[in-house]
């Protein structure tokens, strides 16, 4: 077990990441999600929280993603479908968690198995939606900033109109 010691003398113990090599391929991701959403806050100790966060990132980087990529690059159709089903669910909830597998989707879209293509396409679409949302938030922020500057008389109407147009175009 990986041990994290609290200031008040308490501890938190998490399973060694090496043991996850034997787990079903989607399970390390479920574990990471579970600890992040359900347990992390209850640890209270800031140092422990930070340590656990880092450990979860380590699991993601060293175990969860490499194992998923291994499956996605392999030839076992059933395993690929199982992994993509789980990834599709995660892409709806927390897409940033699975960003490292994005580049592997293009190859899957070329396969002949309809189920694989459908799932890969849905995940791709979810990435596109997430990216658009991110871009929109960025443009909104710029527009709001320009609006403030315009109202303060620091910039001209043309510059503000340009920023607003960029935001509205993307929004549509």
């Amino acid at each position: 077990m990986r041990i994290f010691r609290k200031k008040n003398g308490g501890i938190v113990q998490l399973i060694d990441k090496e043991k996850m090599q034997e787990w079903p391929v989607e399970l390390p991701l479920i574990f990471i999600e579970y600890i992040r959403n359900k347990k992390l806050e209850s640890y209270e100790d800031i140092k422990v929280k930070k340590g656990v966060e880092n450990y979860l990132d380590e699991i993601m980087e060293d175990i969860a993603i490499p194992r998923l990529i291994n499956v996605l690059e392999g030839s076992d159709v059933e395993e690929i479908i199982l992994a993509l089903t789980r990834l599709e669910q995660l892409s709806r909830k927390k897409i940033e968690m699975i960003r490292p597998i994005k580049s592997y989707l293009n190859n899957l879209l070329k396969l002949k198995t309809t189920k694989i293509v459908t799932l890969a396409q849905t995940i791709s679409d979810n990435f596109a939606k997430a990216d658009r949302k991110k871009e929109l938030a960025k443009k909104r922020k710029i527009m709001q900033e320009k609006e403030k500057q315009f109202l303060a008389g620091k910039i001209g109407g043309e510059e503000y109109a340009k920023a607003r147009k960029e935001y509205l175009t993307l929004k549509e």
Partner: protein
């Protein structure tokens, strides 16, 4: 009698934390137990390794049939005379005396037929990767086994013949124990939170090969003899105030419970305490967790938890906590005999505090149940007795 709530004091569990820190500093003992040379080594095997041993055993029998026409099987004797107490590891172990079962003698033919039938069933279970309970094994061939004690004996013989734990054969005990508290486990593809299952807790699965400990923020483990006491602690959500894992086996722990406790001890490295009735049977239950049972001595290294401490209820606690005479029970003949038997055990003689408490019980000729504390109010156990004992380190 009015039920008074004890004053709510702040117990820091100082002694328990000290023990917990000692364990943490010492680290996990990853080295395997070194067994004495005159004892049998049993392994906890995965499916493929057990199958390999099973096929090797059958091959040997076939070879004997070809070579001599009079096959036999040798297996470690499970007679009391072959059970040894290993002082160094504090375990009851099986000695290396062997017994031979001949296929051609009238006295052993029924026994051998039953053994072969169990071997056949074990092969099926392992090949299909499924598990069966001892009861199911009996019902798979009632005419042959006649009584369940016969199939149970054959099951244990098969495990010793294979030099493997019974769990390795995929024959498991029926689910019996309960666990609740600060623990998260994995059962195949499911994550189970043992804090979130209500007062009932999680029924300890006998299919422990599917179970994995994945997270815990507990600081100690408390093994409780009785369901009723667990219910009291669960209702009080005892583990929230005092970070712990609670286990009960409703009496003597069966294989699944003891193996699960052993797993918790090995992986989490936390102090473990037992809370049993203040009577010889309660002390016996503690001893089974501590050193294993004579019947399953061949599996002791996988079932016993030598670092478990007897937290209570000790005979001396009855006076110390002013347990009224009305809830103390006089010992009967059987109780006194049991105490005397326990006092004759080497492992009790070596533990002065334990010996003293048993002698006191024999002198006072009284016993009491955990529930006797309810005489001071229902919360006395969770708000006074347990926290105080865990704070002062008053255990054996």
């Amino acid at each position: 009698m009015s039920q008074k709530k004890p004053p709510s004091l702040n117990y820091d569990l100082k002694a328990t934390k000290k023990l917990f820190n000692e364990y943490l500093e010492k680290g996990r003992d990853k080295t395997e137990i070194k067994l004495p040379p005159d004892t049998v080594k049993i392994d906890d095997l995965d499916r493929n390794k057990t199958l390999a041993r099973l096929y090797k055993l059958v091959d040997d029998v076939i070879e004997k049939i070809y070579n001599t026409g009079r096959p036999s099987i040798k297996l470690p004797s499970r007679a009391t005379s072959n059970i040894k107490w290993d002082e160094e590891n504090d375990l009851l172990l099986l000695g290396n005396q062997l017994q031979e079962k001949q296929f051609h003698t009238l006295t052993s033919v029924t026994d051998v037929t039953r053994l072969m039938r169990v071997l056949e069933i074990v092969d099926e279970l392992l090949v299909k990767d499924i598990h069966a309970t001892k009861r199911e094994i009996f019902y798979s061939d009632v005419n042959l086994f006649v009584e369940q004690k016969n199939s149970d004996k054959s099951i244990e013989d098969v495990a010793t013949m294979l030099y493997a734990t019974r769990n390795s054969t995929h024959i498991v005990a029926a689910p019996k124990g309960t666990c609740v508290g600060r623990l998260r486990i994995r059962d195949k593809n499911d994550i189970i939170d043992l804090e979130g299952l209500g007062s009932g807790g999680w029924t300890i699965s006998p299919m422990l090969d599917n179970i994995e400990i994945i997270e815990s923020d507990a600081e100690f483990i408390l093994v409780i003899e009785k369901d009723a006491a667990l219910m009291r602690l669960a209702e009080a959500r005892f583990w929230r105030k005092y970070p712990c894992i609670l286990i009960t086996a409703q009496g003597v722990g069966n294989v699944a419970v003891r193996m699960f406790l052993k797993r918790l001890s090995r992986e989490l490295n936390l102090p473990i305490f037992s809370l049993v009735d203040s009577d010889p049977y309660g002390h016996y239950i503690h001893s089974v967790y501590l050193r294993g049972s004579k019947r399953l001595s061949y599996e002791s290294p996988f079932l016993a938890t030598p670092n478990i401490k007897l937290l209570g209820v000790l005979t001396k606690d009855l006076d110390a906590y002013k347990i009224p005479n009305e809830v103390r029970i006089p010992m009967n003949k059987q109780d006194k005999k049991r105490v005397k038997d326990m006092l004759n055990e080497d492992f009790v003689k070596k533990n002065k505090k334990w010996e003293e408490d048993l002698k006191l019980a024999l002198k006072l000729e009284i016993k009491a149940e955990i529930q006797a504390f309810s005489a001071h109010g229902f919360e006395f156990l969770t708000e006074k007795y347990l926290p105080e004992k865990l704070t002062t380190g008053d255990w054996i």
